[in-house]
């Protein structure tokens, strides 16, 4: 059944048992909304130098957006910013592939559980759900690092 390609077990697992959910201390907080469906996320990042010390979040949304935030937490916490950005870029590429991209071993290595979202990329209305937390993370990171960083170098 086609639906199974979207609702992979991995995704449903993350949805039912989200990792790292809840708001904890952070260096920056953002609130993102997907106006086409009303999904919302509040997300905080905490950096330890250029290392991601924590990504905490809270929000309401469908299985895809919730699972995606959980996967993000798994993948990014503890990583160096550069590596996290590479993961984010790869995830974006996969989501924008309109189901045309078959993740290879290299991609699986980068994305781990997140390759399960490959099937979602076939559903344009759901791609935004999958990207919601990732866009929020990017935005929060820019705020956390640019703000103080700029002040320090200024």
């Amino acid at each position: 059944m086609k639906l199974d390609s979207m609702y992979q077990d991995v995704i449903l697992d993350h949805y039912k048992h989200p990792h790292g959910r809840g708001l904890r201390d952070g260096d920056a907080e953002v609130h993102h909304v997907n106006p086409t469906c009303g999904d919302e996320i509040t997300l905080r990042v905490r950096y330890d130098g250029s290392r991601i010390a924590d990504v905490s979040y809270e929000g309401q949304g469908c299985s895809i957006s919730q699972a995606s935030a959980s996967v993000l937490n798994d993948l990014l916490v503890g990583k160096e910013l550069a590596e996290a950005q590479k993961i984010q870029g790869t995830f974006l590429e996969l989501m924008q592939s309109k189901g045309q991209l078959e993740p290879d071993d290299a991609m699986e290595e980068v994305l781990e559980d997140a390759v399960a979202f490959a099937g979602v990329s076939k559903y344009p209305a759901r791609v935004k759900c999958a990207l919601l937390s990732w866009m929020a993370w990017k935005d929060a990171t820019a705020q956390a690092l640019d703000g103080p960083a700029q002040k320090e170098t200024a």
């Binding site: 469906c37 999904d39 469908c62 299985s63 559903y123």
Partner: protein
Amino acid sequence: MTRLPGLLTAPDQLLDEAIRKDFPLLDRTVHDGKKIVYLDNAATSQKPRQVLDALNDYYEQHNANVHRGVHVLAEEATALYEGARDKVAAFINAPSRDEVVFTKNASESLNLVANMLGWADEPYRVDHETEIVITEMEHHSNIVPWQLLSQRTGAKLKWFGLTDDGRLDLSDINEVITEKTKIVSFVLVSNILGTVNPVEAIVRRAQEVGALVLIDASQAAPHMPIDVQALQADFVAFTGHKMCGPTGIGVLWGRQELLEDLPPFLGGGEMIETVSMHSSTYAPAPHKFEAGTPPIAQAVGLGAAVDYLSAIGMDKIAAHEHAITSYAVQRLLEVPDLRIIGPTTAEERGAAISFTLGDIHPHDVGQVLDEQGIAVRVGHHCARPVCLRYGIPATTRASFYLYSTMAEVDALVDGLEHVRNFFG
């Protein structure tokens, strides 16, 4: 798959399913050959062949710009366009055809009134000493224009709240609508809750204080007989695409003396009487409010749509939908964990039913239904304050129309069973 016989309304309330043949899209199949079950009618309706034929005939045989021509095509196009105005006027029992303004959609109609009142002279002028009244169940298109007007004029925006069972709470009507109120704008049938609102009580109070009344009939005009004189409102807005007409066409009906007194909104060709670089005078209504080349083909299409609906009979359509809705409400209430947001009986309600299903997010409900060929809408339905009011992130909404069938209700209920199993 069992249709419960006890719940069946008298079958003579139902329209003949043969009318489905008029709607080409209903033959569409999706997801490997599944026939579409189209339950997203509150978002937009499908179009009968008769309307598509009218559009094609217009473009292939009569297309020209209206009003300013002496050639045959221009005369034919003008006659068709103005003829559509006659049809719409008759459809809503307008005292005069000149009270029917064509816009691009209901949203433009609503914004048009808000802007007219912002620029009006006394006694209509909305300013910082006056108040605007709406309700908590309005569509965003009947909220945001008033928020903008209130920000730009300083007028105070007030609203009626909702009761737990999805109806307007009019208990404080005398505090909400006061001597300061200039305009009361509310929805006749809610697109999210399905509620049919008590027009008379609101109009009576508005008239008491001398406030104008604008009724958003976007979810009413497609589904029930509309008589603007019986409604006793000052303005009525609705939209073509939800009532078998094309996209790109809306209607604002307004009382003649108001349309004469109120200032124009958009300026341009067709809405003027005479123009010089120094000043201009305006054409009489309705033209005063129709700047530029109007949606000609779309008006013609809407004319064909009201012909189509009238030939069937709006009372028959209302009875059909009432029967379907009664059945749907009953069957949905049998689905475990399903909560209807809005009235839980078919009385004083339209054919849009919103619900939640346990804690399965509506997005996921919609997706799994879609896979079975069942098209419903999920989200806020452009009425986010209602979701906030009931503390829910969003709803799933099934909405019916004249071509909906009992079998489609059954398909929905079966589909929801499948959703529950999938996320169970």
